[in-house]
Amino acid sequence: MKVNIVSLTCCAGCVSSFLNAGDALVEILAGDFDIVYSPTFIDLKEIPNVDLAIVEGGVRTKDDETLIREVRAKCRILVGLGLCATHGGITSLGNMLSLKNLLEKEYSLIDTTKLPELEDLMYPICNFVDVDYYVPGCPPMPFLIVHTLKSIVSGKQPERHQSVVCTECHRKIVAAKLDRLYGIYEKPADPVLCMVSQGFVCLGSLTREGCGAPCPRAGFTCFGCRGPPDSMMYRSRDMYAFLVKVIASRTSIPEETIKEELYRNPFVFHTFIFSRFERAKARDRVV
């Protein structure tokens, strides 16, 4: 199988994560997996026709858009690797400023005729091309990438992860009695109790499983880097209201107080998904 690995606007963390797969990576590379084009590793400057294209990063410039269209036209299967490609990722936080504002205020000293033109927003790739498999995560864990690629190479459907991070987290959910929410630096986390039951704003209950819950396991909050689970990928679902209900039921803090606290912080919820992700289109293809 001939493979392209392409990077758009991103941090290169997803390909780094793939390289961290160790023995599994050696195994993949020794098998039917022939990387023929990848600016990160290979000097070829023209994109060839291939079976599989792996794309990390989203679309921030017109160059990215041209590139992703060309990549799609030249591959049979397209995999969006990582949250920037699948949902827009961290760079879509920049969507809070309009393009005009951005150029006038932030990049006024830049001569835009010499650099690629910017899109009006940061987009996930599904806004421009069809995507066969989405592998969200910031970055996706190496085993998840390996599992997905192995399935594709052997012609099988990759196993889908449809539920929420809580199903992979060992922590015990209890209905605690708390008077307020806590920041992650404010107190050490109990090793056994659910993070939300301790008053931390953990997004595990509305984030897709498949990562093995490394963050809540380590005593950190889940910050939603796998994007919404299947049950949340309908237009009618109000994730915000759902989060308020989850926190209220596990802490006994009045819903009004929680809402106030969450609205005070614009980054609680949209840190990783502030984009124009077309939910309905993607529902059955998220790995």
Partner: protein, 469 residues
């Protein structure tokens, strides 16, 4: 009229979307050359207003390759505002994480990005000049590369709790202590990694010797150098910042907190990446380089045995300070050796598993700076926090920004060496890219906005595109 422009885009085997333009004069000789960053992401503006307790793990998304260094600088900056003194255990674990970062980054750069240039003859078919081809021919080299990277990744996974974008480092220390079983496991792998690093050094030196006469032709720019120093030894985590001049004399030595008083940034309209330079000497005079060679030039030793022997040999062979650009690839191997040795030394310390990894922080507003040695050189984050704990201002001075002007001058140097009378010799493109590659520039970091490619376009002097190489 024969004047034209040569463009290399995308630059390959480099982290970030970059582009090179070489302007030729009427007789076809090099008039000027630019190394561009063509991607933007905009962390500087969308982080404004962010709460301090989400800052480190969001700011690490600037770069997936050196994320640990960014988190570390970020947390140290916040701690300097909060005036937090972390425990010795936390300090050791953080240094171990930085060593994990150096191992995982340098094994990537050495094997996956730069090795193919040394391994294959210059005339080799470009589509073959890559690590995957090396793996096909010599599976053992590939296995070693991946084993070494896995050791770095494992440190980050076990101590940092994730391999890329670690999360255990927070203001006040580390979120969880290291378990005894984990320490023993890592220690076992450290032994093996030192052996692999030794082999990498031997192979690297052999390839270097073979090609040295040819390599030193391009890029020999004399500049100032800057790096962290602790008792005159290389250190990635603690110590003063020292600047030396091109002759090797000390120009300045100061604490990390004073960093911003010494370094200034400049903007050019043709690139999204800024240029760092020394304030006291002004633009152009004050060009300074950071990174593996700078670390060796600024310091006289390392605290570990094998790396120190290599460092002495390096200084003996190339003098001090060493200027030739391509030596960065050599110096990186010494960095790698130091990192695995230091990781082993830290892991041998049984107090590493003590449970006092975290102290309570008292959030407050103010200004603070965090400085560490990232894989590519000195990295500084400066924040101003408001009293309610939100980010008001941030300034990031990133190694590639500081090296930016040196890279540009070196590209011009290399182009002048290889292009005469408008004639482009075969392999030219890659020779210029090799000079850039030696710096291991992280364009993504430098602009808080870049991707992953270089391409060469030949334009006539009206800017019309003639060919793309």
């Amino acid at each position: 009229m024969s004047s034209k422009e040569i463009t290399i885009s995308p630059t390959t085997r480099i982290e970030g979307h970059g582009k090179v333009t070489i302007m030729l004069d009427e007789s076809g000789n090099v008039a000027d050359a630019h190394f561009y960053a063509t991607e933007i992401r905009g962390f500087e503006y969308f982080l404004r207003g962010m709460e301090a307790d989400r800052l480190p793990f969001i700011i690490s998304r600037i770069c997936g390759v050196c994320s640990t260094a960014h988190i570390m600088a970020s947390v140290e900056a916040i701690e300097s505002i909060y005036q937090t003194e972390i425990t010795d255990t936390a300090r050791k674990l953080r240094e171990l994480l930085l060593m994990g970062q150096i191992v995982s980054n340098h094994s990537l750069v050495i094997y996956f990005l730069t090795l193919p240039d040394f391994w294959f003859p210059l005339e080799e078919d470009p589509s073959k000049r890559n690590i995957f081809q090396i793996m096909r021919e010599r599976p053992d080299v590939g296995k070693r590369a991946i084993a070494l990277r896995s050791f770095g990744a494992k440190i980050l996974d076990v101590v940092g709790k994730r391999e890329v974008h670690i999360l255990s480092v927070i203001p006040g220390g580390l979120i969880t202590p290291l378990r005894e079983r984990e320490r023993e496991e890592l220690l076992k792998e450290a032994e093996n990694s030192i052996a692999i690093a030794g082999e990498a050094l031997a192979t690297g030196k052999e390839l270097f010797e073979k090609n040295w006469a040819d390599f030193k032709r391009a890029g020999d720019y004399r500049t100032h150098y800057m790096a962290l120093t602790q008792d005159d030894a290389i250190n990635f985590y603690r110590g003063n910042i020292r600047i030396i001049n091109p002759e090797g004399g000390n120009v300045a030595e100061f604490a990390a907190q004073d960093y911003m008083e010494h370094v200034e940034e400049k903007i050019y309209p043709w690139t999204f990446a800024k240029f760092g330079y020394l304030k006291a000497l002004g633009w152009l005079e004050g060009i300074v380089q950071v990174g593996p060679t700078a670390r060796i030039n600024v310091n006289s030793k390392t605290t570990t045995e094998l790396a120190n022997a290599e460092l002495r040999e390096f200084k003996r062979k190339f003098g001090t300070p060493a200027h030739t650009t391509i030596l960065l690839d050599y110096a990186r191997l010494i960095d790698l050796m130091y990192a695995v040795e230091k990781a082993k030394e830290l892991l041998e310390d049984k107090t590493l598993t003590r449970s006092d990894t975290r102290v309570k922080v008292e959030p407050k507003g103010g200004r603070g700076i965090g400085v560490v040695e990232a894989p590519r050189g000195t990295l500084a984050h400066e924040y101003v926090l408001s009293n309610d704990g939100r980010l008001e201002q941030l300034k990031l001075i990133i190694p590639t920004q500081i090296n930016n002007q040196a890279i540009n001058l070196n590209v011009k140097d290399a182009a002048t060496e290889f292009i005469h009378n408008g004639e482009i010799k075969p392999g030219l493109l890659n020779r210029i890219e090799m000079v850039i590659r030696a710096y291991d520039p992280c364009i993504k970091c430098a602009t808080r906005t870049t991707g992953e490619r270089l391409r060469v376009e030949i334009k006539n002097h009206w800017g019309r595109l003639l060919t793309i190489l």
